[in-house]
Each structure stands twice: as C-alpha cells, then as structure tokens.
C-alpha cells in the first residue's frame, strides 16, 4: 500500500510538472543575452534565410532568433497584436502600416528618423511609417499588383499584351473565351477581388482629389463609399455581366488560381513579382501587364504600397539596441538587399541600389514603381477597422459576383460598416 508520504511526493511532483509549462510562458521573448536579437517577421523562415545567413556571416557574434506566423498578412498583424498584449514584443519586428499609430502612441517602436540607414530610404516608403514628422519603420521595398498573362493564349486571341482600357480588356477576354473555350479568361482570388478598382481609385485620387486619398476623404466624411466606389464596382461587375468571369471566383483561392495559370488553363490573373519564380518553374510563356484604366487618357495606377517596414522595439537599450541597429543597417546595405530580394522576391527601392528586375516584370516596374503610381485604399481607413473593413470589401464583392447585390449596394454596405469603426 502506498504510504501517505509517497502520495504527497507524487502529488508535489505532478504539481511541479503541471506548472513547468506556465514557467515557460513567463520567460521573456526578448532574449536577455545582449548578443542575441529576437526578430519577428511576416514571411517564412525560408524567405528570410538568405538575409539571416548573410548577416551571420558578417556579424558572427550576433545571433538572430527568428520567428514568424507562416500565415497571411492579416494573421501576422493579429499575432503581433497578441504578442504586444502579452508583453512579448521582439527586439526587431516587421511593422505593418495599419499598426503604426498604436505602436507610436504606446511607445513601442523606436524613432528611426535620424538613423544613418534611413538616409537612402525613399520618401514614398517613409511616409506610411511616419507620424508627427518622425519615422518609425524602415521599408526597403514596394509591392504592386499587376496582371500576369499567358502569352501563347493571348496570341491565339490576337493580342500581344493587356489592352489599355477596361472595355478593350473585356473584349479581349471575350475573344479568349471564344478561341479557347476550355480556358478561363481571367481570375482574381476570392480574398483579393476588385484589383482594378483600386487602380482606378488611385487615378481618381491623383486627378480629382488633389492627391488626397479618396479613402481618406471617405473616412473624414467628405464623401462616401457609395459615391466613390459605387460606380467603380458597377464597372468591375461588367466582368460577370459579360460572362468573362463567373461567380466561381468566389470559391477560388490564390493558390488554386496560380495552379490554373501555371497549368496553362488560365489566360490572365491578378498577380505580382512574388509569383515570378513559380511561373518560371512551370515553364509557361508569361509576362506582366498593366491594369486597364477606364479611359485612355487616365494615368495608370495599380494597387500597391511600401512593404511592411522593419522596426526596433523602443524598450531595448545598450548592446542589444546597437545590434538591432546593425541588423537594420545591414538590411539597407546592397549585400542585405540582395539577400532580401533573393529570399522574399520583394523588389528593393532603396536609393543607390539597382534591383534586379525580371524582364517579364519590367513594363509594370517602369509604369508603377518608377513613377510611384500605387494606391492602397486601406491606408485611408481608420486604423482600428482596416482588417475587418478589407475583409468586408471582399465579402461584398463576392456578393456582387454572385449577383445577389449590385455594385452600388455593395458600396453602400461598406458605408454602414465604416460607421461602426469611427
């Protein structure tokens, strides 16, 4: 028979065993070793490995502990938010523009304005990470959307590039459908619908709104989604009225769309530079074209923005802070940028650095990145509602795709949603 002492000892051991995981929870995510930097990023370890390897080669005494969510951008923001709530912000982290004001207001991101590594960062990339004249994030690259097209399929329909206007584009899609009945003419991913609309909004902002983001005007109550987005959503819905994109699009993910394109079953898809390696591996003959505008005389714009920036935890100091600055200095150096582009596929726009541009992406690079003709509607929305409002945008456009509501109603519904975030 087990003695009472033995029972007590087992109970105590069990208690210690149960408490061990809790003890682990309490350990700070920021490593106490001054030569160990913790880094939380919004991309996979594979994507950052070239940077980590090159940095380790240059600074063998500094160890970088990498962590990521392996999820979407929205997922990254949620985890970052949760980490901050739990007091687990890493030494260096990727700062999305949506979280800038909260980070600054809560003194979590270090002011980088006067740091030497910020001198070569273009103003367009500093702007989304600046508040009250100070810059808190170092964004070294810009992302843009463009339309990837299968050159062979377009050629069969009598085209060698994406037409300049929306009506011509729809005519082209109709011809593709006629010449190749088994081919899907055009697709956008279910959680990325309405890509041309954002390009049109960028143009309207620049031309008719004195450069102020139309979405900022909507947030400020000067106009509404119904007035601005409504007519553009109606134009976009022509894709369904003309039967060149079906409501199937509401059930297709970006990965599925990519598979269709690389298998030669899809002629045109909304995409970006990050897809270049996949397309090349598939062996298809492809190129990127610009987003068709509503009229010929409009300047060309596309969805895009400065990529999420690298920021330093404002709470760190001493040797750790010096090491964090070394890491950002390295990231902004030619050596770091080369490794960054190699791993992530993102295109660096740092002054004095000539990024390698794949020939298939050259046209859109010249049209949008060199001119800064990019627009991201969410940057004009209230910071607290961006993630949910963006999800609502896709939800509304899915309903337009299914024909259950029209473009004007979808835009009106967004006005209702916006009110709850003000």
């Amino acid at each position: 028979m087990m003695s009472r002492n033995m029972k007590t000892m087992i109970a105590a051991a069990a208690a210690v065993a149960m408490l061990a995981p809790l003890g682990a929870c309490g350990s700070a995510s920021a490593d106490s070793d001054p030569n160990t930097l913790t880094f939380f990023a919004n991309n996979t370890q594979d994507a950052y490995q070239p940077v980590l390897d090159a940095f380790a080669k240059k600074y063998p005494d500094i160890k970088v502990k990498f962590s990521t969510t392996n999820g979407s951008q929205g997922g990254y923001q949620q985890v970052l938010q949760t980490r901050i709530s739990g007091g687990k912000l890493t030494d260096v982290f990727v700062l999305p523009p949506e979280q800038l004001s909260d980070m600054v207001d809560n003194q979590l991101a270090l002011d980088l304005t006067d740091e030497a590594f910020m001198k070569s960062i273009p103003e367009a990339n500093k702007a989304p990470y600046s508040q009250d004249g100070k810059t808190y994030g170092m964004s070294v690259s810009t992302w843009i959307n463009a339309l990837a097209f299968n050159k062979d399929l377009l050629k069969k329909a009598g085209y060698d590039k994406i037409p300049a206007t929306w009506d011509e584009f729809i005519d082209m899609l109709k011809k593709i459908k006629k010449t190749e009945p088994d081919v899907t003419p055009y697709l956008e991913a279910k959680d990325g619908l309405g890509i041309p609309v954002e390009g049109w909004l960028g143009e309207e902002s620049a031309a008719d709104n004195d450069g102020k983001m139309l979405d900022q005007s909507i947030t400020d109550g000067e106009t509404t989604f119904e007035k601005t987005y409504g007519p553009l959503y109606t134009e976009w819905s022509k894709l369904f009225k003309e039967d060149v994109m079906t409501s199937d699009v509401t059930g297709i993910s970006a990965d599925q769309m990519r598979t269709e394109f690389t298998s030669g079953r899809l002629a045109v898809m909304a995409s970006g530079a990050w897809d270049v390696p996949t397309f090349k591996d598939s062996g298809i003959d492809f190129e990127f074209g610009t987003v068709p505008m509503l009229t010929k005389d409009q300047e060309q714009y596309t969805p895009g923005a400065a990529d999420p920036s690298f920021a330093i935890n404002a709470k760190i100091s001493g040797q750790k802070l010096e090491n964090a600055k070394k890491f950002l200095t390295f990231l902004a150096s030619p050596e770091g940028l080369k490794a960054y582009q190699e791993g992530t596929g993102n295109i660096p726009v740092v002054e004095g650095y000539d990024a390698e541009i794949d020939p298939s992406f050259k046209t859109v690079y010249d049209t949008y990145m060199k001119t800064g003709h990019v627009y991201l509607n969410t940057l004009g929305w209230p910071a607290k509602g961006r993630t949910a409002l963006r999800a609502e945008t896709f939800s509304q456009l899915q309903q337009v795709a299914m024909g259950s509501i029209d473009g004007t109603t979808a835009a009106k519904n967004l006005d209702g949603k916006l009110q709850s975030y003000k």
Partner: protein, 309 residues
C-alpha cells in the same frame, strides 16, 4: 453496546483519515485547478472587464469605460448575425448527422467480419489530420471550376459542374459534409468502446425471446448507449460552437459571409482590428450561448437516462 468514548475516538480517527485523504486528493487536483484558474478563469474574468471598455490591446490603463456600447454594437452587425446563424446551423447539423451515422457504424464495426481491424483504422484515421489540412485539400476536391476533382468526374459522366464553394448553399453543405466525414470515425470509436462493455448475455436472452435485430438495437443497444451519446453529443456541441479552422481554410467564411463563424468574428472584428473590447463582448455573449446550449443538452441527456434506466 459499545462505549460512547470509544465511538468518539473511532469517529475522530475516521474524520482525521477522511481529512488526510481529502488533502491528498486536493494535492493531486491542485495543479490542474491552478492551471484551469490561470489559463481559463483569469482570462475569462479579464474578458468580462474588457467587454465594458474600449481597450485596444496595448495599454489597459488608457482604456475608457463604455458601458454596454460594445454589446449593443455586436447585435447591430449583420456579418456577426450571419456568423451566429451559420455556427448554430453547423453545430446542430454536425451533431445530429454524426450521431445518426456514428452509432450504427459502431454497431457494424462491432460485428465480426474479414478486415474489421483495418476498416476500424480507416474510419479512425479520418479524424487524425487537422481540420486546416483537410480544408486545404478539400478546396481542390470541391473546387467550383471544371478542374476540381468532383467536377471533373461529373463532367466526364456528362453532368453539369456544381458551384460547390462558390454558391452559399453549396458552400455550407461542403463545410458540414467534410466535418461529418472527418469526425464520424472518431465518434464511432467512442461508441464502439461503450458497445464492447454491453453484456453479451442481454443479446443472447433477447435472441432466445425472438427479438429481431431492430428490436435488439432499439431495446438494448440504444438504452445502453445513452451515456456514450451524452459524451459524444457534448463534445460535438462544444466543438461545433467554437468551429473556426475548417470553414476558414475551406471558404474563408465566404461566399459573401455565408460560412462566417462566431469565432472568426471574434478574431477578425475584435482582436485583428485591435478592438479587444468588442472582441471580448462577443466572447462573453458567445460563452453565455454555449452555456445555455450545453446545459440544455445535459438536462436532456439526464432525462433520457432516467427514463431508460
């Protein structure tokens, strides 16, 4: 007749022994109670407090008291109401369908036939992969395009393709179908464990009395399975109410918001938007709904058990 002083001595000894046993039990229970308090009760209490504030997830010291504003707002959000509707539909349908299929399946798997162990393993294996993985795989199987696995077969057979994930009704069907498909094996295994504890002589007796297979099932198997059903239904209800992974991986809550769930709302509308106050209010309301549903289920199970015993 025993001496009263001796009884008092025995009583005291018994009380001391009981106290010692209780303390030992408490020693075993304390760690798990502590974990439960730290990771469940404390965060839940925090959520209740947050739900009456505009806490943004950064500094609670700067949060303002907003009364019931967060609760009012969530009941005016159509996306959330859609989410609540689909979550309830998912929970009820998966619970009913899985119970209706898993129980007869367990009876079949309890019989002797060639390859029985293999068949049992196959059904159980369905529940092993995570729902996220299943969602991503089934996305290709139920793709609404002609290249989707099911649509390709339908096309080859001369049928029209089906808009599986691109039409609200079909999308709901797909989510529920996959959830049922993935979970029946696990719940059948649970029933199987209980079935093996049913005394064989009950069936032998019934056979001698001339009871048919159906009569044996309804009069012996079903009543004996009530405790197992209580456990299974409880797990299905609680799992169904907090569902997030499968619909998110398969449809991302679409088309529109047709397969949106309450948990997705809490994450997207609350935490993801830095509105912990709203997210917490959603969590509290949802917790109350869960408690009511589970309490109803417990009352119903107890009533059935009493009636059949």
């Amino acid at each position: 007749m025993s001496d009263p002083s001796t009884e008092t001595v025995h009583g005291n000894a018994r009380r001391r022994r009981n106290l010692a046993e209780n303390l030992t039990s408490l020693g075993f229970l304390a760690p798990i109670l502590l974990v439960y308090v730290v990771i469940m009760l404390v965060p839940f209490a925090q959520s209740i407090v947050y739900s009456f504030t505009d806490y943004g997830g950064y500094d609670f010291a700067t949060a303002k008291f907003v009364g019931l504003d967060n609760y009012v707002q969530i009941f005016h959000d159509p996306t959330l109401l859609n989410g609540l509707g689909f979550t309830l539909m998912y929970t009820i349908l998966t619970t009913v369908l899985i119970t209706a299929i898993a129980l007869p399946l367990a009876v079949v798997l309890n019989k002797k036939f060639f390859g029985r162990d293999f068949v049992r393993s196959v059904f159980f294996f369905l529940s092993v992969p995570s729902m996220v993985v299943l969602g991503l795989v089934w996305q290709y199987i139920f793709s609404p395009m002609k290249t989707g696995a099911v649509n390709m077969i339908l096309d080859k057979l001369g049928f029209d393709t089906v808009p599986f994930l691109s039409q609200p009704g079909w999308a709901k069907f797909c989510v529920i179908f996959i959830a049922v498909w993935a979970q029946i094996g696990w719940h059948a295994t649970l029933y199987l464990a209980y079935l093996q504890a049913v005394p064989a002589d009950l069936y032998e007796q019934a056979q001698v009395d001339g009871a048919s297979t159906w009569q044996q099932f309804t009069n012996i198997t079903l009543p004996q399975m009530v405790p197992a059903m209580g456990v299974s239904v409880f797990m299905l209800l609680t799992g169904g109410l907090k569902v997030y992974d499968l619909p998110f991986a398969l449809t991302s809550g679409g088309p529109g918001s047709s397969t949106y769930t309450v948990t997705q709302s809490i994450i997207v509308t609350g935490i993801g938007s830095g509105r912990y106050g709203i997210g917490s209010a959603l969590g509290v309301v949802f917790f109350i709904c869960c408690v009511v549903l589970v309490a109803l289920q417990q009352v119903a199970t107890n009533a059935i058990e009493k009636r059949l015993s």
